[in-house]
Amino acid sequence: MRPGPRRSLPWLAALAGLLTVLVIACCAGKFPLPPEQLLRALLARLGWADPVDATVDTVVWNIRLPRIAAGLAIGAVLGAAGAAYQNMFRNPLVSPDILGVSAGAGLGAAAAIFLALPLVAVQAMAFAGGLLAVVAVYLVARSVRRHDPVLVLVLAGVAVGTLLGAGISLLKILADPYTQLPSITFWLLGGLNAVTGGDLLAALPAMLLGLLPLALLRWRINLLSLGDEEAAALGVEVRRLRALLIAAATLGTAAAVSLAGIIGWVGLVVPHVARLVVGPEFSRLLPASLLTGAGFLVATDTLARTVAPMELPLGILTAIVGAPFFLVLLARGRGHR
């Protein structure tokens, strides 16, 4: 579509919205920090202002900014992966969890907590669990022939996800109810409270590597939403393309989940919202989902850390904030899906 004032308006609005969210997120927090002190702390590191109190500097640069950055990255990845999955599976009800990545990551993390492994192992096992779950689903689905491959993938995902969910439940009942169980429960509810800058840097390569194929194949993904045979007749190597996209989306999602625990709903709703605004064409839908996802998660996380005296689990809040918002949009939507 040719760029024009009417086309660029939603983008400008989205960018302005994201910027607003970022500013609010920077200003909000449990550590009392007046805006001018915040600004000075920001400028000080850049050498544009006198050094500030060390604790203030730590709060701004080592806690708040990394957390906001993690929210941006995770929201963007979940939004993009959700959009890719929905197009790929020709189903707007699909979320990045559909092939079992969250269940696999949950089982990995729960096992690490159960085995009392160090923190870094919890993350590593969550990441590996997410990847392995999807690999298992993919291999199972590939060995089944004579059926619609997309349907088989989804069914295999449901089955493997259920199996892994049972594994999580088993670990929860075996875990020590006074020490391990709360940790497992909190992990499964998701949250950015424990994410450090180092964690983010460790997960970032996988997230970017996951987003790269989505960005490169942003136009070609459209063809998968026509159906396998039609796409093949139009010159697409369907199986290879789908395998690549699943690998990419899974890599990004697994990295995001290993960082923040299970945050549902973002990958389902964000692509819907983006599609309502820019339509289903993926070269527009991808950046829209990235922006919307990033903004939504940072906004929700800001609520999670400010709205109550205690920290609210992010996974709960994304649903509480996202669901009504989504229903309103749905009720107002005209024709577009």
């Binding site: 063809l223 697409v236 190597e237 899906r337």
Partner: protein, 257 residues
């Protein structure tokens, strides 16, 4: 008409695991030629089209595009030669008609690229060729069946193919749209394309086809130019209806062009 056929089926057997649908099919399709595929439901028309599009591997015999089996073509190279018009269908997402037609360019756009200005111009031109340029920015899912069919034909043309495979392009269209589609088929032949289309309406074959292939229970019942082939006797055998029933209906058909 150049001598070498573009597409050729030789002694083809096709079908699914443990269930062969088509037996001993021979067919050659050359530039500027329209072939109509006729047969009752379940006679194997769709299986035939899927096999020659390379979506279904042949059980025996050969399919050759320019002398090479579809499986040995890359999907993209194959799609640059063979355009496909599926039956008008549902699409899950609200793509614009232009988006849909642009997808016809997939085999000519680099793997990691997006359509260029040239591709967009091409898509618009194909819409214009079919007289539906005004639909470009309309949402595909809100179009009527006839409009969708025209958009899908435009998409196949955007592939810039030398062969067009059409699966019942006139099914579910009203009378006017049927005639419009047939007219376009006629015009495409004029542009030098080879067209293979399946249809349920013998009079359509009579109107546009250079040759017809009658398919009954997976075998060729008759093949040849439409006038001599589409006899009352053949049609009766093809559709399993007594000649006494078919005779008066077929005699009252509108005069062909």
């Amino acid at each position: 008409m150049s001598g070498e056929p573009l597409l050729r089926l030789l002694e083809l057997e096709a079908g699914y695991a443990g269930h062969t649908v088509l037996h001993g099919i021979d067919l050659a399709l050359s530039r500027g030629e329209v072939v109509c595929l006729l047969g009752p439901n379940g006679s194997g028309k769709t299986t035939l089209l899927r096999t020659l599009l390379g979506l279904l591997p042949p059980r025996a015999g050969r399919v050759e595009l320019l002398g090479v089996a579809p499986a040995r073509w890359s999907r993209a190279a194959f799609a640059r030669h063979v355009g496909h018009v599926p039956q008008a269908h549902e699409v899950q997402f609200a793509f614009s008609a232009e988006d849909i037609v642009l997808m016809g360019r997939a085999s000519r756009v680099g793997l990691f690229s997006t359509p260029s200005r040239h591709d967009r111009d091409m898509a618009m031109q194909c819409l214009a060729t079919l007289g539906v340029a005004h639909l470009a920015s309309r949402v595909y899912t809100t179009l009527s069946g006839g409009e969708r069919q025209l958009v899908l034909i435009a998409r196949a043309l955007a592939q810039e193919p030398s062969i067009l495979v059409m699966d019942e392009p006139t099914a579910s269209l009203d009378f006017g749209n049927q005639l419009r589609v047939l007219e376009h088929v006629d015009r495409l032949r004029g542009l030098g394309l080879a067209v293979l289309m399946s249809t349920h309406q013998p009079e359509h074959a009579l109107r546009v086809a250079d040759r017809v292939l009658l398919l009954a229970q997976g075998r060729v019942l008759a093949e040849g130019p439409p006038e001599p082939t589409l006899t009352v006797a053949n049609l009766a055998a093809l559709y399993g209806v007594p000649e006494a029933v078919i005779g008066p209906v077929w005699a009252a058909r509108p005069p062909s062009t």
